[in-house]
């Protein structure tokens, strides 16, 4: 860099150039195209910005991926602690013992059933009804997103069957209905919300 202090001979400073890079604001824009000192200053700042971007990329890579153990342990804790939901009773062998499943663990189980189908991802999931009283009728409501091109009705049916089987095996809930709603259709390689297709919403319900 040519200047020894922060000010160039032309009277402008690196601080001004630094602000110009961030905001595009400069007192005398025409000057920038003519002044060799300002140009070389800008070039140095731009090289630094590019190097800075490189450092960010390198640090992100060094930070690991979102699927690594560190993030998994953070998320496990988060799931357990922040939204455990209601306690769902399980019949004890010894009267007086209190055995329960958290609503959160069952919702997660339902979501994983949806996530395991090809081209399908789970969204909102609710257990409607008094889950804390044994025998109360419960309606499961789950939203799914399906990648465009996958058969919606077929996916919904398969998911309902899967959820019914899973809940029968892993809970003692009295499931009255399973309501699967296709809430979103996703474009493969989804670039952003604006480019997404229209989102049809179909809901279907049946007794399991």
């Amino acid at each position: 860099m040519s200047a020894s202090g922060d000010n160039f001979e032309c009277g402008h400073s690196l601080e001004e150039l630094s602000i110009y890079l961030d905001t595009g604001e400069f007192s005398d824009p025409g000057h920038l195209t003519e002044c060799p000192e300002c140009q070389s200053g800008l070039a140095a700042l731009r090289r630094l910005a590019a190097l800075g971007d490189e450092l960010v990329s390198a640090d992100i890579a060094a930070a690991g991926s979102g699927t690594d153990d560190w993030m998994q342990s953070i998320l496990d804790n988060l799931r357990l602690e922040l939204r455990p939901g209601r306690d769902i009773p399980v019949r004890p062998d010894t009267p007086g013992d209190i055995l329960t499943e958290t609503e959160g663990s069952i919702s997660a189980l339902i979501r994983s059933a949806a996530d395991s189908l090809p081209g399908t991802a789970a969204g909102k999931c609710r257990l409607d009804g008094d889950v804390s009283t044994p025998g109360s009728p419960i309606t499961v409501r789950v939203d799914v997103a399906v990648v465009f091109g996958h058969p919606l009705e077929e996916r919904a049916d398969a998911l309902r069957r899967g959820i019914a089987a899973t809940l029968a095996r892993h809970t003692e809930l009295n499931i009255a209905a399973i309501d699967v709603t296709v809430a979103d259709v996703l474009e493969p390689g989804f670039p952003g919300p604006a480019a997404g297709p229209a989102r049809p919403s179909e809901s279907s319900e049946e007794k399991p």
Binding site: E15, S18, L75
Partner: protein, 200 residues
Amino acid sequence: MTGSPPAPDHFDLVPDALLAGRAADGDTVAFEALARRHGPLMRASARRLTGSLADADDVVQESLVQAWKQLDTLRDGDAVKSWLLRITASRSIDQVRRRKNHSDLSDLDQRLAAGSGLAGGGAAGAGNPEAAALSGSRMEALKAAVAALPEEQRRCWVLKQFNDQSYEEIAQTLNISVASVRGRLARARVALAREMEGWR
């Protein structure tokens, strides 16, 4: 559309705004997708701001808890990334303050590689840019130069470069004036540019 489109790896295809909306409704899976997506950048920023691997992980955890609790205050789901980074930045600064208030605590933390971001600032041995320049890559030289910046300048530079904050946001995060941000950021860049010119 021909053939079978690829299945989404859970929420990989889903844009931030959609996930943020669902997460605000209490959908933990959507929130997890956001955390996985932006967690590495949050961690990277927290590491540079706190200078400590363990502190950075504490910060990321606390930030995600706070984000989860405050999701309903997020108006624009598209802005979730910068929002997460804003929380991370504030908590990182808090963490460094806490650490300074307990500087007598033995420093068990695994420190970052030589001079790459010690929180204490100052240009002590570990932060010698020339030594790093001779022994390491250009990136190592930049890390050393960043570590050698006065702490106030380094914070401004990291918040700009990593967290992509505006002058106003940086001023808010650090509780200083916008004019101070402008000056410190410029001085940081001048110092870094000088160090790095030798690397061209």
